[in-house]
């Protein structure tokens, strides 16, 4: 205990890198440690018995008197930041020129319990430098993270493009047979877990070869694209249309029974027949034959439900095209 208080008496406050100055109500300087001495070139001896404003006249300005007077009454601490108070505790010597001081004035009661004011003066120049350095490093690190994120994003985009290409028919942008097989397989799983059965519409364009032979392959492609677009815009949100191959399309109608499917299919047939397609100023009439089957939970498999729709379709072709046939 004695030891500590000895240290305190002799030089603790003189050894710390924080400036300490204590004044009484009349601004007589009561304490002035080494740090302030060094910064200001004013020694304790010089200032002892003098008033603080003899050396630093700013303390006589009303703006300081106003803000500081409360401290002697035990009021809250007052922050005097370097930005607004550059002039405080400065003597104009060179070593202070680039330094930044942060000053806090607070109420202080000495051993005799008379109230005085304590200034702690912190040199924050180095902290500021550290912060600048830190920010520089942080920004660098951030830009690395940014770069990595961008690379990851590109990878994800590339992957989704690949997936899109693998699942999509290039000409019509509809799902291809592969993707459709995946979707219908999932739907079969769902039906086996007792949801309502789905129906499948198998579609073949009537006399498609004529478009190619009369107007060229470009026209054939046009018809396929337009039909794809027509189908896509005509089905419900929950339905899936895809290109099965050649001029064949297939539609999956989840939770739709045969009767309902037939109504929808008949509408498709009528609507495309009524639609005018114009290719290079020539009016084209497109019709199609459609075969429908409904998945039977007890009997059907993936292959059988599609084959039944396909059979119905062929029956329709044989009966004269442009019609809807159901497989019961």
């Amino acid at each position: 205990m004695t030891l500590y208080s000895n240290i305190f008496d002799t030089n603790l406050l003189d050894s710390i890198p924080i400036g300490i100055c204590i004044v009484d109500k009349e601004y007589n300087v009561l304490f002035w440690n080494n740090a302030v001495s060094e910064w200001t070139d004013i020694t304790g001896k010089d200032i002892q018995g003098k008033k603080l404003y003899d050396f630093f006249p700013h303390f006589k300005e009303p703006r300081y008197i106003m803000r500081l007077e409360n401290i002697f009454e035990g009021g809250p601490p007052v922050i005097l930041s370097s930005q607004f108070h550059r002039e405080l505790f400065r003597t104009g010597n060179e070593k202070q020129y680039h330094r930044i001081y942060h000053i806090i004035a607070s109420s202080f009661r000495d051993s005799s319990n008379s109230s005085s004011m304590l200034f702690t003066i912190k040199d924050i120049t180095d902290i500021e430098q550290l912060i600048l350095k830190y920010r520089e490093l942080k920004n660098k690190a951030l830009s690395e993270v940014e770069k990595r994120k961008k690379a990851e994003k590109r990878l994800i985009e590339a992957n989704s493009t690949l997936e899109f290409l693998a699942n999509t028919d290039q000409l019509t942008s509809l799902f291809n047979r592969r993707k459709f097989t995946d979707i219908i397989t999932l739907e079969i799983d769902r039906v086996k877990r007792n949801t309502d059965p789905f129906s499948v519409i198998f579609i073949d364009l009537d006399d498609f070869k004529i478009f190619n032979s009369m107007h060229g392959h470009e026209c054939g492609d046009f018809v396929l694209k337009q039909t794809a677009l027509f189908l896509k815009n005509s089905i419900r949100k929950t339905d899936t249309v895809s290109r099965w191959g050649g001029e064949e399309f297939i539609i999956l109608l989840p939770e739709t029974d045969l009767e309902h499917a037939k109504k929808l299919t008949e509408k498709l047939r009528e609507k495309i027949e009524e639609t005018e397609f114009i290719f290079k100023k020539k009016n084209l009439k497109i019709t199609m034959t459609l075969g429908i089957s409904m998945f039977n939970r007890e009997k059907d498999t993936f292959d059988s439900v599609i084959n039944r729709a396909d059979d119905a379709l062929h029956k329709g072709k044989a009966e004269g095209k442009n019609r809807v046939i159901c497989s019961y």
């Binding site: 803000r67 809250p76 601490p77 005097l80 930041s81 109420s107």
Partner: protein
């Protein structure tokens, strides 16, 4: 739970209103723009949550002034970070968009001026001596705005809050005083003294 009569609520509101009004004058002089103040709002709360803010920002700059005495708590000046930056930039002509030591210092001083004026008026009016810790700065979201030292020894706060707005500069913020639960009774008595 602490119960305070409507008359006392009213007087408390008035005291705060005068204190904050005075500090708004100071801010007004600093910024050269009119400061609009809301009516002080008093509430007993468990913690500061998003529901208490009409607009929620991701980050706030907060200057804290803890006080103790007959009544104990923390006074806070709270700015959405962007408002704080805008104001500091305006006052210092700084250009970067981050809080550096200088900006924090400046903001701390502004908060200090405002909070000292509010608390000064408050303790003078209620004729009670308060002891203050050093003001400190934090950058935080709403959920962490109440610090460990704020909630020490208390479950509930009496929250006094005034919002201010510098319409012309689109700067806004809040002045909040959190009184700890233990202070309620004393506060009640101090207001009693004042009213009689």
């Amino acid at each position: 739970m602490f119960d305070i009569s409507p008359e006392k609520y009213d007087s408390l509101r008035e005291i705060l209103n005068i204190g904050v009004g005075k500090s708004a004058d100071i801010l007004n002089t600093m910024l050269g723009s009119h400061i609009a103040l809301s009516v002080p709002e008093l509430k007993i709360v468990e913690k500061l949550g998003t529901e208490m803010f009409p607009e929620v920002y991701s980050e706030y700059a907060v200057v804290n002034l803890p006080f103790r005495g007959d009544i104990t708590g923390t006074a806070k000046m709270v700015f959405p970070s962007e408002s704080a930056l805008k104001m500091v930039k305006l006052l210092t002509n700084a250009d970067s968009d981050e809080f550096d030591a200088i900006k924090i210092e400046v903001l701390s001083e502004i908060g200090n001026i405002v909070l000292n004026s509010v608390m000064g008026m408050f303790s003078n009016t209620l004729k009670t001596d308060l002891h203050y810790s050093l003001p400190w700065f934090q950058e935080t979201d709403i959920n962490n705005m109440v610090s460990v030292s704020d909630v020490k020894d208390t479950e509930y706060f009496l929250l006094a809050r005034v919002s201010f707005k510098v319409e012309k500069l689109n700067i806004k913020g809040d002045i909040m005083i959190l009184f700890k639960l233990g202070s309620f009774e004393k506060l009640d008595r101090l207001i009693d003294n004042l009213l009689t």
